[in-house]
């Protein structure tokens, strides 16, 4: 009884003390604020005097600093050095035809084919990045899906070479074209253009394990030249356990502003890879499947162009972005064939393009259209000309999208598309997709 009474008294007393101290605190805060203001004014005056005095006495050889002390936020714990972490959540609902081994007619498939329908979660991307020291910066992107985690990118980049030189070493998305360096969450449509799927398979990007060297010219016009060499393990090349390199790329980009409202970038790129035993299915004259393995060189040329417009250069409310890319690929070598066919030479020349425009008409809403077309071109199978079916076809696709962003970190997108990428099939697709970015989300490229 006594105890609880004492407790209550204590409680009451502490409450009283609390109330009093709140009022006191406010008064003290006001006083401190006043003091701060007067001090700030005096400091400003002193600083000025200091600079004046200095300029009178200063010998240029030894300039004494007028010493307004830097006032950076200080975090005293060790985890202040933790890398920037961000996570991309992406998923969709997709309505489409069920097509086993979905591919593009007339093109060698670079993967299993994307045939996921209904609700699904795309790869979840974990991004870790930080300055390593004053000389290097590192970044890793891990794409997680059921039962697997892929290292999408893992590289370090130079900060201190200067002279416009940039060096990147590790696994990186090649600097070719425009879309190649962009991760899916930066795309303006729910899927990659057919052209990228035809060129690089379902990941729609060429990733290189190797070294990239870039040089930015010291001119008012943006001119950047890049060269890459590396393992060249990914489609259209294949992985081989060799000394030396398996692939290389060259790219040049130029860009500038036109007035205050417009800016552009254009580029040309070249990618060379080598393949050995790159297997894919062919159809023989009898209609049966034949297994062919290609060995030889694959050369891809790319041209890319981007134009952005925003009134007064203020893209927050309204802006328009046009982008287009074109590619030609030439493959030369031999084909080893299993089935109703023989070993033969192999020579193809194929091309394709896409063009898209995206208009943001309010801070939250954007709408866009994309049209694309590929050309299966010439495919010369030499001695196999009489054995294998050569489809000549122009795959086409038209897409329209509208998306809504609550903030720059969250987006919901609706896309409809008519896909005629397979001979004799018209697939009307509907995709509802979300893209969410958590954490320290880095800047996006132009």
């Amino acid at each position: 009884m006594q105890k609880s009474f004492a407790m209550a008294a204590l409680l009451a007393a502490s409450c009283g003390a609390q109330a009093a101290s709140d009022a006191d605190l406010a008064a003290i805060r006001a006083q401190i604020d006043d003091m701060k203001k007067t001090y700030e004014q005096r400091i400003a005056a002193l600083e000025q005097k200091l600079v004046q005095a200095e300029s009178r006495t200063a010998s240029p050889a030894k300039p004494a600093p007028p010493a307004p002390v830097e006032n950076r936020p200080s975090v005293a714990s060790a985890n202040a050095f933790n890398p920037e972490v961000s996570l991309i959540l992406q998923g969709q609902y997709r309505h489409a035809k069920n097509i086993e081994g979905r591919g593009i007619t007339g093109f060698v498939p670079g993967g299993e084919g994307l045939n996921t329908r209904g609700f699904s979660v795309d790869e979840t991307e974990l991004v870790l990045a930080a300055n390593i020291d004053p000389y290097w910066r590192g970044q890793a992107i891990v794409a997680m899906a059921d039962g697997q985690a892929n290292i999408e990118e893992a590289w370090f980049q130079s900060l201190a070479i200067g002279q416009g030189v940039g060096l990147k070493v590790g696994r990186f998305r090649a600097g070719i074209g425009y879309l190649n360096e962009q991760h899916p969450h930066m795309w303006d449509f729910a899927d990659a253009p057919l052209m990228y799927q035809a060129m690089f398979g379902e990941d729609a990007s060429y990733v290189q394990d190797g070294v990239q060297l870039k040089w930015l010219a010291p001119t008012a016009l943006f001119v950047e030249v890049g060269a890459e060499v590396g393992r060249g393990a990914n489609f259209p090349g294949t992985d081989r356990n060799n000394n030396g390199t398996g692939g290389g790329a060259l790219h040049v980009h130029a860009g500038d502003d036109v007035g205050v409202s417009n800016s552009w970038r254009a580029g040309a790129s070249w990618l060379k890879t080598r393949a050995s035993e790159r297997t894919s299915d062919f159809v023989d004259i009898g209609g049966a499947t034949a297994q062919g393995a290609f060995a030889g060189d694959s050369t891809t040329w790319l041209a890319d162009f981007v134009w952005k417009w925003a009134p007064n250069g203020n893209s927050t409310h309204r802006n328009f972005k046009f982008q287009s890319e074109y590619f030609v690929r030439e493959e030369k070598g031999g084909l080893t064939c299993v089935g109703a066919c023989v070993d033969s030479s192999y020579k193809t020349n194929q091309s394709g393009w896409y063009a898209q425009g995206v208009y943001q008409f309010t801070p939250q809403w954007r709408a866009g259209l994309r049209y694309e077309q590929l050309d299966s071109g010439t495919r010369d199978f030499g001695a196999n000309a009489a054995n294998l079916v050569v489809d000549s076809y122009r795959p086409k696709k038209a897409s329209a999208m509208v998306d809504y962003s609550w903030s720059e970190f969250s987006r919901l997108r609706l896309q409809v598309a008519q896909d005629k990428s397979m001979l004799g099939i018209t697939d009307n697709q509907l995709t509802l997709q979300y893209v969410m970015s958590l954490g320290a989300h880095g800047a996006h490229k132009f």
Partner: protein, 298 residues
């Protein structure tokens, strides 16, 4: 031909060496300040205009090309340019202007920042962990940044150090005088309650002793919603504001709506150099800001 190419390269490098300080300023206010201090000794490139939202800038190719050649990069700092500047720095291939180098100068590092959040959570919108970055609208901050910038410029370009100090001294003298004038003129603004579009005017209001009673953006960086505006309108009964302020780069719709419904005067402020015809330089910026506020409060 070979000789010609050699001559070209030689010309370029010599050109670089001879040129005075090449300054890349991310925002017009610090570009203007660098020009005041450096005068004819500096070449200032300003990456944005007063009509662009400094939070949302594309890392345009032209910015990379300019950053490549700069000796000194002046940023507002406090994460204002987080959406584009880190990329420009990294891809510029310019070692001199990387964070931590003498060639990187962040203005917000040299003043006391307001609104440093206790917790950082995007549920509160696009908050800046280092505090409110719009520091330049308090003229006392301009002076502080100017002093620090002068030191930095003198350090980078010792040959012209005396000129920079002289430039700053002349500027600071005029600035002190102007500050006295502005404070006198703006005396009637003390205690005037205002609504703001975005938290762009925290330092201005702090300097003039004005009172912010609400923001049109429900959270920083999120555009005003009709629901939030209606709520603000209802609050006018209990805590009435006299003015509703927006920057030149912000849309006038929300503040006009508010002004019409609540009988306030909507005031567009230049926000930075170039925002209005009168705000030709830093002096014009504050002259015009004070005049527009006085006119609105009348």
């Amino acid at each position: 031909m070979k000789r010609f190419i050699f001559a070209c390269f030689f010309g370029l490098t010599v050109g670089n060496a001879q040129a005075d300080l090449k300054i890349f300023a991310t925002v017009p206010e610090w570009g203007a300040l660098a020009q005041e201090i450096g005068g004819s000794k500096v070449q200032v490139y300003t990456a944005t205009t007063a009509f662009q939202d400094p939070h949302r800038i594309d890392a345009r190719p032209s910015l990379l090309a300019r950053a490549r050649q700069a000796n000194l990069l002046i940023a507002a700092g406090a994460d204002l340019e987080i959406g584009w500047l880190p990329l420009v720095l990294r891809d510029s291939g310019n070692a001199a202007i990387q964070t931590g180098q003498p060639g990187y100068f962040a203005a917000a590092d040299f003043v006391n920042r307001l609104e440093v959040p206790a917790t950082v959570d995007r549920a509160h919108g696009d908050v800046h962990a280092a505090g409110n970055p719009h520091i330049h609208l308090d003229p006392r901050n301009v002076l502080k940044v100017g002093a620090a910038l002068t030191t930095r410029m003198a350090e980078l370009d010792a040959a012209n150090a005396a000129a920079y100090r002289g430039g700053y001294q002349a500027f600071a003298g005029k600035w002190q005088a102007a500050m006295g004038r502005w404070q006198k003129e703006a005396a009637p603004l003390k205690g005037v309650p205002v609504l703001v579009h975005h938290a762009s005017f925290v330092y201005l209001l702090d300097w003039l002793g004005m009172k912010e009673v609400g923001r049109l953006e429900p959270k920083p960086g999120i555009e005003p919603t009709s629901g939030h505006l209606t709520e603000l309108l209802a609050r006018q009964q209990s805590a009435p504001a006299k003015l509703v302020l927006r920057a030149a780069y912000q849309q006038d719709g929300p503040s006009q709506w508010m002004a019409g419904k609540a009988g306030l005067s909507a005031v567009m402020l230049p926000y930075t150099v170039g925002g209005t015809a009168e705000a030709k330089d830093l002096f014009g910026l504050f002259d015009d800001t004070v005049q527009r506020l006085l006119k609105g409060a009348r």
